[in-house]
Symmetry: C2
Subunit: 297 residues, 2 copies
């Protein structure tokens, strides 16, 4: 067993980056290393990108092996842990628990009965009880957060701004229900609300509805709106967008994307802006408050 | 031109039943005729069932021909009009307007910019300004409404009741946004919220998520909850369920269906109960108030 690290070591010691899918884990790892801190990636099997992970110090991890994680992270000298990347809640019977996980299983089972916030904050507690410190990716690398104003050249029209306001108000109303915080609004009409299917799944649905002639809004109308839940643990579950979100919004025939500034993670901002410009979509960071206006500079 | 009918004739004269898709229009027409009142069906092209419509006095109608409708309904002696059956909002450019509709088009265009309630109440005003009286199907045939308690043999468990309460609270929160009033909740987690895709579309999505292993709730868990919007014009847009809703809920792996009693239309209650019993699903009518408990007797 590795001894507990001295408290002072926490801020500068190696960082354990637990990696789900997509490119965000690598954006975060790069940002950490750019600051001169070592990052050790724990790639979740079935989710983390096996090609890209090779360029980093890494271990392959599976969800049921918490005991193994504790040993390995301690051996690497990691006390700080960051969770990043996409990961859809697995059916609990797919976990193959190691001994420590098995002992925690009754507690984990209870956590699984509820929304994402409930599950995530419970998991955060378990990590902290085992001597780890959970850190939000945005605390480590604030440059990954969406700023206020637009990325790229396009800006929302006044009609788009009305759709954005309606979407923010809706997400404000659904926030206490601990569901995916995304919606599509077109010409003041709510077209889709995100829950377990995720943002990409919701955009694919809007694309299908449009193809089937079931939307009256013309192509090039409508906005994807994403907002952080009001009381969520931001260390674990901030909304994020990437270039594929812009492509999905384009296929869905939307005018653009609005996300809450300062609480939305950008996977690859340069490519987001490039794809948005190529497809003539706007991507705008807006204030979180329901009553606030949309600033576009 | 046919002269306006005498006011006293309204309650007993023939009823114009404007028919969308599904079996509900025929349930309503049968209920009207059982009371000894004549029903004239106006079958909307592309929506009304061409096989079943033959058994009734009917005209084929298309959405853009309001002038034709006024003339034909008056010639049939109809002053009361009921709208019933499924009809997804058409893209406005698919309307081929007749002369009267053309004159109303600027107003209709404005109505199309907004939610369903906005569109429907505007259309109701247009009919009333032309001397028709819009009546809710539930006013004409109250027996088509879901009562409190269960249809069929199955009853919700205490876990199901907790899911129902959560769904009702969520629909209460989204009610001001004028969207489809349906949701799926399983093990206290909101799995899906309905907007433009409709209830059948939402159930198909839950089925797909389950097949893809993206739901952690076991098969046989979870409830479809439907509720009338709080301030909607109930003459035009009450939620409804039919046997296909029960089949969709079964395919989605749910335990049952809960709808608000007294404000949900049942298409073919006997078949709903028969399918529910065959598939071991519950179908329960619950009180509308968010704080009210679920009664199953």
């Amino acid at each position: 067993m590795i001894e507990a690290l001295a408290p002072g070591a926490a801020d500068t010691g190696p960082l354990a980056v637990v990696c789900g899918g997509g490119s965000l884990p690598f954006t975060v790892a790069d940002a950490v290393m750019k600051r001169g801190r070592r990052a050790v990636l724990f790639a979740i099997e079935g989710w983390a990108d096996p090609e890209r992970i090779r360029a980093y110090p890494h271990h392959w991890a599976s969800l049921g092996r918490f005991g193994w994680f504790c040993r390995t992270a301690r051996a690497e000298g990691c006390r700080d842990v960051v969770f990043i990347g996409s990961l859809i809640r697995p059916p609990i019977w797919q976990l193959r628990p190691d001994l420590k996980t098995l002992r925690l299983l009754p507690r984990i089972l209870r956590l699984f009965h509820g929304g994402d916030d409930h599950l995530l904050s419970g998991i955060a507690s378990i990590f902290e009880e085992h001597g780890f410190r959970l850190i939000g990716a945005h605390e480590i690398a604030p440059e990954i957060l969406m700023p206020e104003g637009v990325l790229g050249r396009q800006t929302p029209s006044s009609r788009d701004r009305a759709d954005i306001e309606r979407g923010l108000a809706l997400l404000n109303a659904t926030s206490p229900f601990d569901i995916g915080q995304g919606a599509v609004v077109a010409d003041a009409r709510v077209i889709a609300i995100e829950a377990a299917e995720g943002t990409d799944g919701m955009l694919a649905r809007v694309e299908q509805l449009r193809r089937a002639g079931q939307l009256e809004a013309a192509s090039g109308r409508g906005v994807l709106i994403k907002a952080a839940k009001r009381h969520q643990d931001r260390r674990l579950d901030l909304p994020s967008i990437g270039p594929q979100t812009v492509e999905g919004a384009k296929r869905a025939g939307l005018a653009g994307i609005a996300v809450t500034a300062g609480s939305t993670i950008l996977a690859d901002p340069n490519r987001i802006a490039a794809v948005a410009d190529r497809e003539n979509l706007f991507v705008v960071g807006v204030q979180e408050q329901r009553t606030a206006g949309v600033r576009t500079e």
